[in-house]
Symmetry: C2
Subunit: 364 residues, 2 copies
DNA sequence: ATGAATAATTTCTACCGCGAAACTAATTAC
DNA sequence: GTAATTAGTTTCGCGGTAGAAATTATTCAT
């Protein structure tokens, strides 16, 4: 219901292979608890008693999602479908846990989010148990139990997840891959992230959170990344790397927006840089489609504007690496908005909250 | 039990979260029907009543697996764990369905396999519904209902599957990835095949059976494949392509065994060809590990001898494309034996047979 | 032998979810 | 207003499953 929207008891019963009687019984406790509500009766002119679709009461609770980076904390308040209501940013005073907690406190004040039901946090790095930050290079953290720290400070349930994992969850539940069983996610920003959902479940391994998607080799004539890989996805696609490459050619430093603008208006250097990156992105997308056997790739992150400027180059690169008999790869692009990271954190909090309400029996 | 081997009722109950009472009840019908047997009592010197492990009666039935190519049919007779007992080959008289059925008849006679419980067939091409061959380029077949044809001719249940899918199933159930949740399979032979298992289930898409794994770009300076891809996995790794490359350099034609032998003894041309292919294979393995998020890759197919001759090159290529922080990729190599293809077909037949015995209730 | 320990079985009961069938509710068609 | 139609509810019993407790089986230790 969260994913697909309002649905009548009867229709839901048919989909689940249950009788109408069972649906009455099963839905009652959720209605009693205010988790579900009956929607408006349909006015479609058909004969018979009109249906009263059930829906999740999406505004029953608000959620706070925060994305933590080395310098800032970004926060969004969402409803139960991870629709963003308000967003805010605050700068971190330092890299301590208390600095981060203070940042979250500031966000809560600024967003007037004192009433949120739960807090989800996401962070670049390895996270286990939806709470423990095993490693977060940007904050130089090791084995910090951030989830518990947030719960203690703010007195509400908290979930912590890797940022790419969280964003992938958001796309799967509420975003551009809602209800899709197999897809991958590529994020472009300060680095390159890669998430994968197969058989309706995100693939999580012990490597998850190490940022491996960021160092996939794409162009053996490309520049070096910080780890010394030539032409890896970070080297080819991260905002910093693209701006540096353009800066060399242009003889002055440019920021990402300017680079894209220059490319759009035909500047040769900018065009070259952007197209080289676009080709690399196309190769990455095609490789994911070929080897992970997905045919939908969601693109996200604040560096996604690249695709807008050079979409044809991306598509051409995909095609040249993809068998013509294969299903075409669907590219789904999210907004280039940084809030999508914080929204991902909120989505994880929502998911885990609903995980706590698994059956009618427990509500009874 | 098929996958993990004998296990006592008590231990099985603990693993499944069931009481000993339930396990007695649930296992009885299987024992009554002879599907399970009690094994030998343990003699470990521990006090108490000794355990009587349960096991699948692996020789309760025999299975016939056949692999169909454009020129031959290969057959193996196996037990219920897909252990190969006997194998045979026969040449096809033509490309008609009847020619294939005649070939299978010949195999049954040669293998004395008149008593097999079921027949599994595998074929290079797209197959749906475990029966319908949608497309099989080597036989120029379109929409041939081979499964039904086999059932009618031989009067026993038949399953038909794509050859790579079948081989992957065999590795997952009975082979080198027994009980592993996430792994991929790369086959090297006349072409290159790619199979993927995630979350314990093989990934099957509408592209499955089109041989897409065979045209993944690996080396943009490599030779062309039959479809005009430069340096794709087929061009770099298929037996025919490797032999052609070597033949150009050597000034005479060589077969695969000779090529590998020459490379092993240090012939410069052969070494160069084999190492170039080994590097390409390493890149393919690394790409699969990176993008499909697996850390076990099973190598199979009759062209796998390449790895024996140049394993260090393969490993070096994997490492250069893989983050050093990531889990190392485990390579598991099957025999270079062609029977593994036919064994795959048998594995599918076993799997579908056991799919027909899903619960104690149906046996009662 | 006897007792302790462990495995497996039997017996018995609880219970739980499901759906058939009958019923109520709310609409349109005439 | 009445009939037809479809949605949803209530009642009630069936079927199936599980496990607690007692029992039986089989070993080792002494």
């Amino acid at each position: 219901m969260l994913i697909h929207g309002p649905i009548a008891r009867g229709e839901l019963g048919r989909r689940l292979g249950l009788s109408p009687a069972s649906l009455t019984r099963l839905s009652r406790p959720f209605l009693d608890h205010g988790i579900l509500v009956e929607g408006q009766e349909r006015q479609d002119g058909a004969v018979g008693r009109p249906v009263k679709p059930l829906d999740v009461r999406v505004d029953a609770q608000r959620m706070l999602g925060v994305k933590i980076t080395g310098e800032h904390v970004f926060g969004v308040v969402t409803d139960l479908r991870a629709t963003v209501g308000a967003s805010a940013t605050t700068r971190l005073a330092g890299h301590g846990v208390d600095d981060v907690l203070d940042g979250i406190q500031k966000l809560i004040d600024d967003l007037d989010a004192h009433d949120v039901a739960a807090i989800g946090a996401s962070i670049g790095g390895k996270v286990t148990g939806s709470s423990l930050v095993v490693r977060a290079p940007f904050l130089d953290w090791h084995d910090v139990d951030l989830g518990t720290a947030i719960e203690e400070r703010f007195g509400r349930p908290a979930t912590v997840e890797n940022d790419v994992v969280a964003l992938t969850t958001a796309e799967q539940w509420f975003g551009h891959a809602r209800g899709v069983d197999n897809f991958s996610v590529v994020t472009i920003g300060a680095g390159v992230g890669y998430g994968l959902v197969v058989h309706g479940r995100q693939v999580i391994t012990s490597d998850t959170g190490l940022g491996l998607g960021g160092h996939f080799p794409l162009d053996n004539t490309g520049p070096l990344c910080i780890d010394g890989h030539r032409g890896c996805s970070s080297a080819m696609l991260s905002i910093g790397s693209m701006c540096s490459s353009a800066g060399v050619g242009l003889g002055r430093s440019v920021d990402y927006d300017e680079l894209l603008a220059l490319a759009a208006e035909g500047n040769a250097v900018a065009r070259q840089v952007v197209e080289t990156s676009a080709r690399a992105l196309g190769r990455l997308i095609a490789a994911s489609a070929n080897l992970a056997m997905v045919d939908i790739v969601v693109l996200s992150g604040e560096g996604i504007g690249l695709v807008e400027v050079a979409e044809d180059v991306v598509r051409a690169a995909i095609e040249s690496d993809r068998d013509p008999d294969a299903l075409p790869v669907q590219i789904r692009r999210t907004d280039a908005d940084f809030t999508s990271w914080a929204r991902g954190a909120a989505a994880v909090a929502i998911e885990s909250g609903f995980g706590l309400i698994p059956s009618a029996a427990t509500l009874r």
